[in-house]
């Protein structure tokens, strides 16, 4: 039986069939659905959201060391967070097989950069597989676990957005139940003190030689012989694009096992074909190694290394052909940027924050990143998970030394605070800063599509969990000024900002209100109520001043002809931010 699955669903199915016992992840587009789809296998797989990617990988390593087949999944930038254990577990090798899934995002669909994580496999000297469709996603989890156990190596499982979120047909199989391997105390292998690390370093090179031989033998790297005038070496989704463009008119060396590269196979292929193309997305990872081996090829001199590829880009780059398109003025379409949703609890607080002129606002990764966009235009910087609080700290310290009055404010979400923000807050307190730190606690991990986190009271698999008391945590760190407010109440938000900006010590404002799209838990309903009703504009009273429009709510529409504002009742959730902003009281709540 075949089923149409996304790559992420197929990896989850592969994990089930390959006898994975333990899986952990931190959500991040495009990787999030992997763990969500593993979660239903409650009997067979322990599946958990970790507070960050480093913790996810370390937990998986722990499970692997005691003999369980384990998997950790994360987006490409998550691997940066997990890089520390990743490199050293590359040295020690595994007990139960360990697969690290890296979901890269060429084109930055939902990311702050488009780093090519294939380079990590070479850097850390571990094995790597690259699926090119959903069937391979499923099959390669099994292959990766087996390679991991056979060669005593962590395996990097590299996906990209189109593989993760693209659907294709997959044949279903059965779970292979594998007993956990026995654990034997072996500090020479698992305790990387310098004396052991130096020995493991030698073992690592020896392992790479074995993997090199395997790479040249495995069916994961295979030839497709057709006409030999042109030969194409490719991997991942780029292989599908190449097949789309050239079909069966050229020969292929399709690579599924891409670290170490099968140089013997590559040499053989290069000898047989007249012209060699290397078609790969992002960096010239394959090409550079081929060139270093003295083989001529055409690659990044013609194919861009920026952004996603598609069949058209390859056609244009290699064949100089372009498809005919409709000739028209595309510019008449007005931009449609993403916005904070109607009723988003971040809006009220951002609105008040946007009125403060002499401050710097360090933002973070999450929906509240949309605070960068007009009309709120509040957030100055976004770098990486957890950076808001630490950047604010560094900025404030040097501004203070320079005797500048400017205050620095950080804004960070609840899940991102647990991810790495908490470490930054420790720094702020320890090094005696006086920043204002806003934890926007919307009771869920929002941007990635509502995953539970250590603050929500539930686990990935729906079990009740301890929910972290954020005010108590901040106080325990040493923050003496902590306030929790309702961010939809503008007066409360304004007052809290006045209070915090005047302090000479670090403060934390927790804006606690659930995401407008959240399916409320019983605890949420008890705390926040089942709020009802919509906001409505009395057009007789509305003077068309557009103050409410400055909140950026997508339910509000300023009609240029009537010079009045209307509220879309299908979008409005009755959050009342616009109502508080209106200077003529033209907006009222109805249907409560």
């Amino acid at each position: 039986m075949k089923k149409l699955l996304t790559g992420n669903e197929a990896v989850a199915l592969g994990a089930y069939e390959a006898g994975i016992n333990y899986a952990a992840a931190y959500p991040g587009t495009p990787s999030t659905e992997i763990l969500e789809n593993i979660a239903p296998y409650k009997k067979e797989i322990i599946a958990e959201w970790a507070p960050n990617e480093k913790v996810a990988l370390e937990s998986a390593i722990g499970a692997s060391v005691v003999g369980a087949r384990s998997l950790a999944a994360m987006k490409h930038v998550g691997v940066n967070v997990a890089a520390d254990p990743f490199f050293t577990y590359g040295y020690t090798g595994v007990n139960g097989g360990l697969v690290l899934v890296s979901a890269d995002d060429p084109g930055c669909h939902s990311s702050q950069n488009e780093q090519d994580n294939r380079l990590y496999a070479k850097f850390a000297k571990v094995a790597m597989v690259e699926p090119s469709d959903s069937q391979e996603c499923k099959d390669m989890v099994k292959a990766a676990v087996e390679i991991s156990e056979k060669f005593d190596t962590l395996v990097l499982f590299r996906m990209t957005t189109r593989i993760c979120h693209g659907k294709s047909l997959v044949s279903l199989g059965k779970r292979e139940e594998v007993d956990m391997k026995a654990y034997e105390k072996n500090p020479q292998k698992y305790a990387a003190v310098p004396a052991n690390a130096r020995k493991l370093r030698v073992v690592l090179e020896d392992r790479l030689k074995k993997l090199d031989k395997f790479s040249n033998e495995t069916d994961l790297n295979y030839f497709e012989w057709n006409d030999k005038k042109i030969g194409i070496i490719s991997s991942g989704v780029a292989y599908q694009y190449a097949k789309d463009v050239f079909g069966d008119t050229v020969s292929y060396l399709k690579l599924g096992f891409t670290h170490p590269l099968p140089m013997e196979k590559i040499k053989k292929f290069a000898k047989e074909v007249e012209t060699l193309y290397v078609i790969e997305e992002l960096e010239p990872y394959i090409e550079e190694q081929i060139r270093a081996a003295g083989i001529e090829c055409i690659g990044k001199d013609k194919i861009p290394n920026i952004g996603e590829l598609n069949p058209d880009i390859i056609t244009k780059a290699l064949l100089g052909e372009e498809r005919e398109t409709v000739d028209y003025d595309k510019n008449i379409a007005v931009n449609r940027p993403p916005t904070l949703c109607a009723g988003c609890p971040h809006r009220g607080f951002f609105y008040e924050l946007s009125k403060r002129k002499d401050i710097i606002v360090n933002g973070d990764i999450g929906c509240y990143g949309l605070g960068v966009a007009p009309p709120l235009s509040t957030v100055d910087t976004i770098i990486c998970m957890g950076a808001s609080i630490s950047m604010a700290h560094g900025a404030q310290k040097v501004l203070n030394r320079n005797k500048e009055d400017r205050k620095v404010v950080s804004v960070i979400g609840d899940s991102t605070f647990f991810h790495t923000g908490v470490n930054s807050l420790i720094d702020t307190v320890y090094n005696r800063s006086n920043t204002v730190n806003v934890i926007m606690d919307n009771r869920i991990t929002g941007m990635t599509g509502h995953q539970e986190n250590p603050g929500t009271g539930y686990t990935l698999q729906g079990m009740p969990a301890k929910d972290i008391d954020i005010p108590a945590l901040c106080k325990a760190i040493g923050v003496e000024h902590v306030r929790t407010i309702n961010p939809l109440n503008l007066g409360e938000s304004k007052e809290a900002l006045n209070w915090a900006l005047d302090l000479d010590e670090p403060s934390v404002i927790i804006t606690r209100w659930p995401c407008a799209l959240k399916r409320l838990s019983n605890e949420d309903k008890e705390e926040f109520g089942n709020y009802k009703g919509l906001c409505k504009v009395d057009e007789e009273i509305c003077i068309g001043c557009r103050m409410c429009i400055k909140t950026g709510c997508p339910a509000l529409h300023f009609n240029k002809e009537t010079k009045k504002v209307t509220i879309d009742k299908t979008q409005c959730v009755g959050c009342e931010v616009c109502l508080q902003v209106c200077p003529t009281n033209a907006i009222s709540k109805v249907g409560e």
Binding site: L4, S168, K243, R323, V326, K330, A333, V334, R336
Partner: protein, 192 residues
Amino acid sequence: MAEVKSLLLVGVGGQGTILASKVLCAGLVEAGYDVKMSEVHGMAQRGGSVTTQVRFGEKVYSPIIGKGQADILVSFEAMEAIRWLEFLNPKGKAVVNKYEIPSAPILMGNADYPVGVVEKVKEKVDTSVLDAGKIAEGLGNTKTMNIVLLGALVKAMDLTDIDWEKAIRENVKEKFIDINIKAFNEGMKAVS
């Protein structure tokens, strides 16, 4: 590989393009085609412009298409048709929903919703225009607009031989099955 067909569904986050394409793919798989589908999740879903690409045929390689390659462009929202028109093969068909959703710059009064977008598409390519919002409202549930448009797509692409009722039954919540089957049929009727 001329036999591979490429469909492009475009709209605004929250309009139900994902469910429509799910039903579409289920029908195509059941009919024995190789199918690939691609969509983008994450940030764009927050009220942004969204696209789903579906390709089917005997054997499909690339899950995504380039400019000028779609055999049909189904636009769930009027202005989105213009935004994505360059992906349509000039000999292909467009199915455009008259429904307008103003984007943030328009809501703020910084830009105007473009006038006559549907006519502009019609001038350039073979276009079927329907008011799926009105049809769905007539059925008593505006959220079925996506399945109305699916019906229009099926008719325009001449895929009527497939058992779409089954695909709807297997992919839509039970209490919404009947209304969605009605919506699908109304969508088919709306395209000549």
